[in-house]
């Protein structure tokens, strides 16, 4: 049942990402729901689901990306695994914890992504981290918090729950 729900969430996230979110761009920055989904998967479903999900989502994204094949797959694999290993087990309902967790996970994703993409060009890497990664992570973390709150409010059940 959880797998079906996760796949449904992924499909919705992909549709929103491809069709709707560009309308909410601010200065060229738009939320990246697919990274957020991988973080959610790793956080809630553990390292295997996080890693496998991260790899598959990244691969799908790579098929549509202007950069080299495998770049998104690599960064999402690493972030899916790392999030599951380092994830907070408690206080998942706290908005501040959620925001900080998604923010740092997205920045970690972008460190891998832009480090591999810039091929050792430190100036380019730093510029992309400042102009793309940081605003994108802030925007996405904010959007994810709002979406989670809305869905939980409508559904009357928490999506991110503490481990017992």
């Amino acid at each position: 049942m959880k797998s079906v729900r996760d796949i449904a969430v992924l499909v919705v996230a992909m549709i929103l990402q491809a069709t709707f979110l560009y309308r909410f761009e601010i200065a060229g920055i738009r939320p990246d729901l697919l990274v957020a989904f991988v973080v959610y998967l790793g956080w809630m479903r553990g390292p295997i689901a996080g890693t496998a999900g991260g790899f598959l989502v990244g691969l799908i994204q790579d098929l549509d990306a202007p950069g080299p094949l495998g770049l998104n797959a690599l960064s999402k694999t690493i972030v899916g695994f790392a999030v599951a290993k380092a994830g907070f087990r408690v206080h998942r309902a706290n908005a501040g914890v959620r925001f900080a967790f998604f923010l740092f996970a997205m920045l970690a994703h972008d460190v891998v992504y832009f480090a591999a993409a810039s091929l050792g060009d430190l100036a380019l890497f730093l510029k992309q981290m400042l102009t793309i990664a940081l605003p994108s992570a802030l925007y996405t973390a904010l959007v994810v918090i709002v979406i989670l709150a809305l869905v939980e409010n409508v559904w009357k059940r928490p999506l991110l729950v503490d481990e017992t």
Binding site: T19, T51, L59, P66
Partner: protein, 303 residues
């Protein structure tokens, strides 16, 4: 050993396998990467693109409806003016014995999907094989060149925009007629690089960059962008030229597919409005946006 890994360290094993697979994909040569992408797109993404197209079409219809309500009011006023101008145009055309030219056709299409990647690079259109659209057709807007069609299915087409590594365009500086190749290089997005221009050539910031028509995919004379910065490559032999694209790729909703006629030809210079001709530019942009799907802009413009 393997048994131990899969039973005791399953999470690490999955991680190592996934990272290895990712690195292997990254290290593949360009041709192998292209083949892999083609295979995966035709197996994984084809059904998803259909669903995405349906959903976006619904959303687009809503927004389009809002825009069209305002446009109808404006166009009603403009229609009367256009009727009067058309009569005058016909009279002048007859006087000058100008035959109507149809060197090309432009088919309008809606953008129904965008790249899943943050950096963009591709679009999905709602026209495909069934509408006579083929791969490697140029995609334009009244502002300039968008890219080319990479592949088509029955009612959809995937477009590589100029902001994709696989979309290189033979280009020419309008003022000095210097040739080069425009290509997006990973880095300072969303700008383009004009490559292979000798350090001796005459290129200045502010120069207009147009397609040269070499290569056969893109018609000559289509605006690509404006030279933003000119420098010298570290090798000292060629110029480093940064081009600001004429098209805002993030806001594309309707585009025009260039379909060359049997007689061939180039896009007339007056198709692309100049800064001094802002009134004509606005009129053309509105006409492109309002063009009915089955009716080309060229047919409307020449009617």
């Amino acid at each position: 050993m393997l048994r131990y890994l899969f039973t005791r360290r399953t999470d690490w094993t999955v991680f190592v396998v996934a990272v290895s697979a990712s690195l292997t994909l990254m290290l593949l040569g360009p041709k192998s990467q292209a083949r892999t992408v083609w295979f995966l797109q035709h197996t994984l993404l084809a059904p998803a693109e259909i669903v995405v197209g349906w959903v976006d079409r619904g959303v687009a219809v809503y927004w389009e409806n809002q825009r069209l309500r305002q446009r109808v009011a404006r166009l009603t006023i403009e229609l009367d003016e256009t009727r009067a101008e058309r009569g005058e145009n016909d009279r002048l055309r007859r006087l000058l014995h100008l035959a109507e030219r149809h060197p090309y056709d432009l088919v309008s299409a809606h953008v129904v999907g965008r790249s899943l990647d943050r950096l963009g690079g591709s679009l999905a259109l709602d026209k495909g094989d069934a509408e006579g659209i083929e791969a490697n057709r140029a995609i334009l807007t009244p502002d300039g060149l968008v890219g080319r069609i990479e592949r088509t299915s029955r009612h959809a087409a995937r477009v590589l925009t100029l902001l994709h590594r696989d979309c290189a365009v033979a280009a020419r500086i309008e003022r000095s007629r210097v040739d080069g190749v425009v290509r997006w290089e990973y880095g300072d997005r969303p700008t383009l690089d004009l490559l292979y221009v000798s350090s001796q050539e005459d290129v200045k910031p502010g120069d207009q960059v147009l397609t040269s028509g070499l290569g056969g995919i893109f018609p000559a004379g289509v605006r690509i962008g404006t030279v933003e910065r000119v420098g010298l490559e570290p090798n000292g032999l060629t110029k480093e030229i940064v081009v600001d694209p004429a098209v805002d790729f993030r806001k594309l909703e309707e585009v025009l597919i260039y379909v060359p006629s049997a007689r061939g030809g180039t896009v007339p210079a007056d198709f692309y409005p100049t800064a001094a001709d802002s009134a004509a530019a606005d009129s053309l942009r509105r006409a492109a946006a309002a063009a009915a799907p089955a009716e080309s802009l060229a047919a409307r413009a020449l009617r």
